[in-house]
Amino acid sequence: MQLTNRAKKLEKKPMTLAERAYLPAIFQGLSITMRHFFMKKATVRYPEEVRPFSNTFRGLHVLKRDEQGRERCTACGLCAVACPAEAITMVAGERKKGEEGLYREEKYAISYEINMLRCIFCGLCEEACPKAAVYLQPDKMAPPRYERDEFIYGKDRLVEPVSPDERSVRGIQLTADQATTLRARIG
């Protein structure tokens, strides 16, 4: 029964002597594998060689500071609401007198935690943030850890250090050269 007009009639021809002898096919196969022997290898030797990230890569989060080094986050909770994976939790607190140099607004996050095992790195928190406080860095990933609770990143690991030189201390450590080239490429 013919179902379509694209059906191809195949004939099973008897094998030729060369095909039956099997040796030509073996040499053909050997030449193919030998070609692969000299091909460029697909492997990236990871810790020594870092595969370049895309400049829109969404990696490890950072809580930014403003120009005067104050935390931008006001613990409004919009990021937690936007988060589809429910990875973000925070506790809001009121800024006290004398803390104006630490927090930009009267309200701030006493604790701010992101569970990197839940996070899907979609970047919706970054989009939701009205204060431009949370960002997904393009050059860092959450590194492997032995314990699950080590994946819950608190403010100690999320907030950007005051001095810019201390960046890249957390997350995947890039060498100075790699960081420079990446920053230059990202602009």
């Binding site: 073996i26 196969g29 050997l30 193919i32 594998t33 022997f37 091909m39 290898k41 492997t43 030797r45």
Partner: protein, 359 residues
């Protein structure tokens, strides 16, 4: 007839050959992984040491520190004896292989060969076919049906292919007229005469021998005794720790030995082209003594033999990562209905050519 060298020298050579076989087998495990990786566009193990060269050590430590497991109902003594026998037989066969010609130190002649006997080839065959007992005993003592099936496969495969292999060898012996591996080597290059390696006289025989060598060492495409898709792990399913290591190791030692045998039988052993011309050149235009020139040629020949062996080992691995494994009935059909008749035809052909005075 050159008088036999002292027993002390022989034991030194045997010890060196023993150590070399182990070393080469060790690095075969590394080479296998690297070659496999390269043929598949990967880079292979490169973490342990520079270029991963300490990887065999790491593997050995892993093997030695793993749990020793004895399956219930296994015959303990035979279970231990199996891998030992496989290893012993693999190591024994390299004793008669001539790794080099004669060294001459102050009119004392030293063979670069463990034992020079006039039945060298017979010794290799005898010992190598004992090796299948290691597999059989191990597979049977495991008290596991997969192990037993693997062992049965190994036994029948080895017996089938040994026939064709032996007959391919007979054609070589018809030309050489001797079983001594040293004499076979020397015949492939005689000073002052134009001699060629046996591969030119025995191309068909070589192909038969090569195919059978793959089957004898249980290598792909004939690795049905350890065919993991059908038999879990084959004869070493129940083995763990260094007992498994010995089985895997003996396979590599066997590859080394069979590569050496093929180099000696068909590729001129320690001979290399223009060796006599090179020796004479050292004597005539460099003013060397004949003995020291000969010693240099001997050393170069040993290096050459090892290069041939390594080329064969590479070929074994290259084939392994190219060809899929045969089905068992295909394997048997190839052995009995193709290789054996071809080998008989090769004998007849060789006989005819000898009668005609061509070779």
């Amino acid at each position: 007839m050159i008088e036999l060298p002292a027993l002390g020298w022989q034991s030194i050579v045997i010890f060196v050959v023993f150590a070399l076989s182990l070393l080469i087998a060790t690095y075969c495990t590394y080479a296998e992984r690297v070659i496999a990786a390269f043929l598949q566009d990967r880079v292979g193990p490169d973490r342990a040491g520079p270029y991963g060269l300490a990887q065999p050590l790491a593997d050995a430590v892993k093997m030695f520190t793993k749990e020793e497991f004895f399956p219930g109902g296994a015959n303990k003594a035979l279970f231990v004896f199996g891998p030992c026998l496989a290893m012993i037989t693999a190591l024994m066969s390299s004793a008669v292989i001539p790794f080099g010609n004669i060294m001459n130190f102050g009119n004392n002649l030293f063979f670069l060969q463990g034992i020079e006997v006039n039945i060298g080839m017979l010794w290799v065959f005898g010992v190598v076919s004992l090796g299948v007992y290691g597999v059989m005993i191990g597979g049977w003592a495991s008290n596991n049906k997969f192990s037993l099936l693997g062992a049965i496969r190994a036994a029948s495969q080895n017996i089938s292919y040994e026939l064709a292999m032996g007959m391919a060898l007979i054609a070589v012996l018809m030309i050489s007229g001797t079983l001594s591996l040293r004499d076979i080597t020397l015949q492939q290059s005689v000073a002052g005469e134009w001699h060629v390696w046996n591969i030119v006289k025995q191309p068909l025989g070589f192909i038969i021998f090569l195919v059978c060598a793959f089957a004898e060492t249980n290598r792909t495409p004939f690795d049905l005794p350890e065919c993991e898709t059908e038999l879990v792990g084959g004869y070493h399913t129940e083995y763990s720790s260094m007992k498994l290591g010995l089985y895997l190791f003996s396979e590599y030692v066997n590859i080394f030995v069979v590569s050496a045998v093929m180099s000696v039988l068909y590729f001129g052993g320690f001979n290399f082209p223009f060796q006599y011309e090179l020796r004479d050149w050292f004597v005539s235009s460099q003013g060397w003594e004949l003995a020291s020139a000969q010693n240099l040629i001997t050393l170069l020949g040993t290096v050459g033999l090892f290069l041939k062996i390594f080329a064969f080992i590479f070929f074994f691995m290259w084939i392994r990562w190219t060809l899929p494994r045969f089905r068992y009935d295909q394997l048997m059909r190839l052995g009995w209905t193709i290789l054996i008749p071809l080998a008989v035809f090769n004998i007849v052909l060789t006989g005819g050519l000898i009668l005609a005075g061509v070779i």
